[in-house]
Symmetry: C3
Subunit: 129 residues, 3 copies
């Protein structure tokens, strides 16, 4: 596996994301479907972005561990937050879950009109091991 997080000269640099992530083969790619703040029974864990985001990071960790990976293996994630809610609590959840020594993934963030019933935030991802 060869994975490089790039932030070339001339582009804005942020500790919160990488501008792009380059994957050289051979590699194992994990396509992670939209994760929501639900427990193992599919029940929404709470009515706030913060609670749901923390559960999403737990679910991601569970998924990735089952493939011998961690959050650090995510190369791109896409976050959707329901309009009228900010992602501030989601950022806080990310900061709790993420090891700051790892280069962050590429990121896309949309405010959307809606998600599934009770969901305020959804996160899908591509991970590479």
């Amino acid at each position: 596996m060869g994975v490089r997080h790039i932030n070339p000269e001339g582009l804005h640099r942020s500790p919160a994301f990488s501008q792009a992530v380059v994957v050289e083969q051979p590699a194992k790619t994990i396509y992670i479907g939209g994760q929501n703040g639900v427990d193992a029974d599919g029940k929404v864990v709470g009515p706030t972005v913060g609670e749901q985001a923390r559960q999403i990071f737990r679910n991601l960790a569970t998924l990735l561990e089952s493939e011998g990976a961690t959050l650090a293996n995510i190369v791109h994630w896409r976050i959707a937050v329901v309009a009228g809610h900010t992602f501030d609590e989601g950022v806080a959840a990310f900061q709790e879950a993420w090891n700051r020594n790892d280069p962050p993934p590429a990121i896309t963030v949309h405010s959307v009109a809606g998600l599934g019933p009770g969901f305020l935030v959804e996160l899908d991802a591509v991970a590479v091991v």
Copy 2:
């Protein structure tokens, strides 16, 4: 090609989607752009989510067949439905088109403010052969 659909212990399990799909190389990857309910002339086939979704699944089948693949090769799809419409008819179209013996893809669903003119639903996908 090695493709595994995973639903690890501790995550909600649903017949409608897989939590993630793992792709081991070598594999051929097909990036499918946003498909809409349009015919071969680009004309919208009808004013309902159901009609448009059925056409989308026909278009997907056409695309995949041209690469020796089927719907079962999709590893992740992302569905966008225009706000104010439910995806219920889209789910019905999926159930008609999908072979229940195949493990379902990872999925992301957003309700969005809008799509191209006349479009109520859009579906893009990554498939692996």
Copy 3:
């Protein structure tokens, strides 16, 4: 690297996009996070879709050049425009930036409720070299 842009018989054909792009291995994949109309200091370059889209294409070019690639290496891009704005100026910016002799990428376009502060348009992409 083997990359083929496909538009099979029976699907609508447009000069603006390919229906799908097929990637045969080995290939290097670049996951490009949501790009916005910001300069190297992260400052939004202007209050119109056109200005922001032109900056996005410049940023994409910078990113891709740092990996020995060009816009032509993009296989799929996903565009989000804030509701109430059309993407017409974005299309014009694309036409300025894109070499018409290259087969266009697969595309997904959503009108979303919102993006980060000051952003009217966001574009993420997968490129293959």
